[in-house]
């Protein structure tokens, strides 16, 4: 069992290394001269060469990647140029292990950038999860218990329509009409709990959280409806009803418990995929979370930040998979034997 876990972990680490290397290679394959971009248009070839050295882009890709991996294990100092560090120690930034790099564009370590952005994405994700779980499960149950009625068809139809529109469109619609033209809600702007208190923090998360939740809501409505209907057709439900239990008790105490179990698994998987949705939602609402950080880094060819976010997101997915694999191995001995 432990050997299996160790093997899966080792494979996960190799995958992460490959992921970071491929990102490096893709980045350098782009037709953009990084040093020229950073140095500015008046720079001569000599000055561009100096900038290239300072940024470490003069070294082969594998060497730059090696420095990156070393930083994760042992930490690094920036600027990379040792001459500058020695001559002007006030300009040095320490990046402790696991160091994901240093963004020249933002003058911060990638760890700091991710540290600043992650709480915003997590807050947005939490609000969205609560919304889609409460909304999706409630509407799914309602649809199930009114199966075949206009309510059922209305719920399923409307959530599918909402799902069919891209979140970019819904986000802009919400801002343009709901917030600006009709003034139904205040224009959302991220405010931290420290700056605005819990109420303001939450109030400003409602609209973007709702847009992100809509991405998942339709799926949860349909799945809940299907699971509840399936559960209600089981023999033990018939038995419960035959025993004279009230309909509400049968539904909530016996039917739902079985129906919701697969939804918990589904929620876990969807949480891992939230970054994709957050990129769009954060970009539309200008919430400076991991999604917006990724977009800005991509637009500005900020390699260290792109690598850092890719490795972090990849690590989440890989770790989640390892946990699932190991959990399966515990549950089903055939897996670890295979």
């Amino acid at each position: 069992m432990w050997a299996y876990a160790a093997r899966r972990t080792a494979i996960g680490l190799v995958l992460l290394l490959v992921l970071s290397f491929v990102t490096f290679v893709l980045f350098f394959a782009a037709p953009v001269d990084q040093a020229r971009y950073a140095c500015g248009k008046q720079c001569t070839e000599e000055q561009i060469a100096v900038t290239e050295r300072a940024l470490g882009y003069d070294k082969p890709v594998y060497e730059q990647w090696g420095a990156f991996v070393k930083g994760i294990v042992a930490g690094r100092q920036f600027p990379a140029d040792p001459e500058v560090r020695a001559a002007a120690p006030e300009t040095v930034s320490d990046c402790a292990a696991p160091c994901l790099g240093y963004s020249k564009l933002n003058a911060k370590t990638v760890n700091e950038l991710i540290g600043d952005a992650a709480p915003i994405s997590i807050a947005l994700a939490l609000v969205a999860v609560v919304m889609w779980l409460i909304g999706g499960v409630s509407l799914g149950i309602l649809a199930a218990v009114t199966k075949g009625s206009i309510v059922d068809r209305g719920i399923v139809g409307l959530t599918l329509v909402a799902y069919a529109f891209p979140s970019f469109f819904i986000g802009v619609f919400m801002l343009k009409y709901v917030a600006i033209r009709w003034e139904l809600v205040p224009l959302p702007r991220y405010v931290s709990i420290e700056d605005g208190g819990v109420f303001t923090w939450l109030e400003n998360l409602l609209l973007p959280g709702f847009v992100l939740a809509l991405l998942f809501l339709a799926g949860y409505v349909r799945m809940t409806r299907a699971f509840v209907l399936e559960s209600l057709s089981e023999d033990y439900i018939r038995t419960a009803r035959a025993k004279g239990l009230k309909g509400r008790v049968v539904l909530f105490k016996h039917g739902l418990r079985a129906a919701l179990t697969p939804l918990v698994t589904m929620t876990g998987l969807d949480l891992a995929g939230l970054l994709g949705g957050a990129i769009i939602t954060e970009s539309v609402f200008a919430y400076p979370g991991l999604g917006l950080l990724t977009v800005q880094a991509s637009n500005a060819w900020d390699l260290p930040t792109i690598i850092g976010v890719v490795v972090l997101a990849g690590a989440f997915v890989i770790v989640a998979n390892i946990i699932v694999d190991i959990a399966y191995a515990f549950i089903d001995p055939r897996v670890r034997l295979g």
């Binding site: 782009a30 037709p31 953009v32 001269d33 020229r36 950073a38 140095c39 500015g40 248009k41 008046q42 720079c43 001569t44 070839e45 000055q47 100096v50 900038t51 050295r53 300072a54 940024l55 600027p79 140029d81 001459e83 500058v84 020695a86 001559a87 002007a88 006030e90 300009t91 930034s93 020249k104 564009l105 933002n106 003058a107 986000g171 802009v172 801002l175 343009k176 600006i180 033209r181 003034e183 224009l187 702007r189 970009s283 539309v284 609402f285 200008a286 400076p288 917006l292 800005q296 637009n299």
Partner: protein
């Protein structure tokens, strides 16, 4: 250099550069302003500045966005010189003293410039601004591995060799720099290796020689720190890239050391500078200004009104609308490695339906046909005879066919036309294709995306004609023609730099050398006008449109104007709010 229209468009109208001048306010017949924008402002209140893109830095030596240079010159960073807030093109592009006592004295044929600092000018921490601060700020530009991204024209002028900037200079290197940029009490002397006639214009617009306090400097970690010497300071001292900041009055700023009427009225007590870097921010800001509710009544924005919003500019909204010529021109560049016959290039120019192209872009609110690559706001701009004479801008396919016959080329002549792709440019380039196809060409359109300028800079590109855009860094043709067509700093084995057509012409380069060595501005302008004529005779470029900026403001904003110094963006030095 100037800035490419790319950023101006891609960053949604954030002018990346150019302190250039645009013709000023009220360009549209019906867009002459009105409402409270014409009301003279009074001190007090809070102005809301809605910005739809993030800045790249708040360190003065790293700032290159034209709108940021212009605005921050008014609020935080006073320079030795500055451009006045006049709407008059000539007055607005003539530098006046700011931190310096006068506009400087030059000697040795424009190779030496001296400025003396005023008494009583201070940083926000109460310390005096010294000559050494100016010297140190100038030196930071040389550290182009630490202070990246800003304009660095001074590198090729200041008479010092192999100076790596203050962070890793040896004592000998530092001493050599301090000989080239020396202090004597409050007087700073710049020694150049060649004449720099338009140096005052360069430093009025750019912050390459702005003071910087050495003890405040943390190299690249200073990227978002602001130590103000202007009428405002930032609450907390740090600019937030994605949020902006709240600007409050700087109690160490003494208007007596300034010329508020010319340089900065500083009317609002507070400025809430809000950044929204989302892709949709520009459109939404203008939706809010059309709605004009709550604090948006006291707001201005960096985001131009988008063509789909034009139908909403009616009635009371129109009173808060302004359309002005921008500092940006766009143009087409033939690839001189592929189209070597001047008659073929001329055939492209004479057959171009420029009126149709501008109409496809959005019409007269979006731009007007250009007759040269030089923006009307640049000193000495004049129509280029190659494009202005006998040209109704509708295209003449028959004349083009005759030219192709004269060139003896096989028709249809294949042309691959590259441009930065968008739904609007697709439509406009379709007009170009239509007019050229009718003239004996066979055009293939090649719409490219984000890495556009990197692709067209490649020397071996498989493209015949390219779209490009440009705005001057300061109102001199020296920041237009040499950066775009001088092959010597641009063309190498790996790139054609900003000379996208890989153009090389000895006569042109001799003229810009004469211009560069002029100690007199008028003489310099004369050489550059001649150089533009040479470009026209060679059809080194084909002008497209001078773009326009369309602005809305809140109903309680006062003194709204755009000026040459503000790069045709709202002139924050003049703007106030009703109390």
């Amino acid at each position: 250099m100037g800035m490419k229209l790319r950023k101006a468009l891609a960053v949604a109208s954030a002018s990346v550069l150019g302190l250039s001048l645009a013709a000023c306010g009220g360009g549209d017949s019906d867009g002459s302003g009105g409402g409270s924008g014409d009301v003279e402002g009074t001190k007090g209140g809070t102005l809301y500045y809605l910005q739809h893109f993030p800045f790249e830095a708040s360190d003065p030596q790293r700032i290159y966005y034209g709108v940021q240079l212009a605005n921050w010159r008014r609020v935080f960073y006073r320079g030795l010189l500055a451009f006045p807030m006049s709407e008059d093109a000539e007055v607005g592009t003539t530098p006046v003293p700011d931190l310096a006592t006068d506009t400087g004295t030059s000697s040795e044929g424009g190779k030496v410039w001296k400025f003396t600092l005023k008494d009583g000018v201070k940083w926000e921490d109460g310390s005096d601004i010294t000559c050494e601060d100016v010297q140190y700020g100038t030196s930071r530009v040389f550290a182009n591995d630490v202070i990246i991204g800003g304009p660095n024209y001074t590198l090729s002028y200041i008479d010092v060799k192999d100076y790596p900037g203050p962070y890793k200079a040896t004592p000998e290197q530092q001493a050599a720099f301090e000989d080239a940029v020396s202090c004597d009490g409050k007087t700073i002397t710049f020694r150049f290796n060649k004449p720099w006639a338009d140096f005052p214009q360069a430093i009025a617009g750019m912050m390459m020689t702005d003071p910087y306090k050495k003890s405040f400097d943390e190299g690249e970690k200073s990227q978002w720190k602001v130590l103000s010497n202007g009428p405002y300071k930032i609450e907390g001292g740090k600019w937030d890239k994605n949020k902006g900041a709240t600007l409050v009055r700087n109690d160490q700023y003494d208007p007596a050391t300034d010329d508020p009427e010319q340089l900065r009225l500083a009317l609002p007590d507070k400025i809430e500078w809000q950044i929204d870097p989302s892709d949709t921010a520009g459109e939404l800001f203008n939706d809010r200004l059309i709605k004009d509710a709550g604090n948006d009544q006291y707001a201005i924005t960096t985001a131009r009104v988008a063509p789909p919003q034009f139908p909403q500019i009616t009635g009371a909204v129109e009173d808060r609308y302004e359309s002005v010529l921008s500092p940006y021109n766009s143009y087409l560049v033939p690839n001189h490695k592929k189209i070597t016959d001047v008659n073929v290039r001329k055939a492209l120019a004479v057959s171009l339906n420029l009126n149709g192209y501008v109409k496809a872009l959005g019409g007269e609110r979006v731009g007007e046909p250009g007759e040269t690559i030089v923006n009307p706001g640049v000193s000495g701009a004049q129509d280029n005879p190659a494009f202005s004479e006998d040209n109704d801008n509708n295209g003449d396919p028959e004349a083009a066919k005759a030219l192709l016959a004269e060139a003896g080329v096989k028709t249809p002549y294949p042309i691959k036309l590259a441009y930065q792709k968008s739904p609007t440019t697709d439509k406009a380039m379709a007009i170009v294709k239509e007019s050229w196809d009718a003239a004996g060409f066979k055009v293939t359109l090649e719409g490219l995306s984000d890495t556009y300028y990197d692709v067209i800079a490649q020397p071996d590109k498989d493209v015949d004609v390219m779209w490009a855009g440009w705005g001057a860094d300061w109102p001199s043709m020296m920041t237009v023609l040499p950066p775009l067509f001088d092959s010597r700093p641009n063309v190498s084995s790996t790139t054609c730099g900003n000379d996208y057509g890989c153009y090389q012409n000895d006569e042109f380069e001799a003229l810009i050398d004469k211009a560069a060595n002029s100690s007199d501005i008028e003489e310099q302008v004369g050489f550059l006008q001649e150089a533009d004529k040479v470009l026209g005779e060679q059809y080194a470029y084909i002008p497209l449109e001078v773009s326009k900026f369309n602005w809305l403001r809140g109903s309680k904003v006062t003194g709204f104007a755009t000026t040459p110094a503000s790069s045709a963006y709202p002139e924050i030095g003049l703007i106030g709010v009703q109390n």
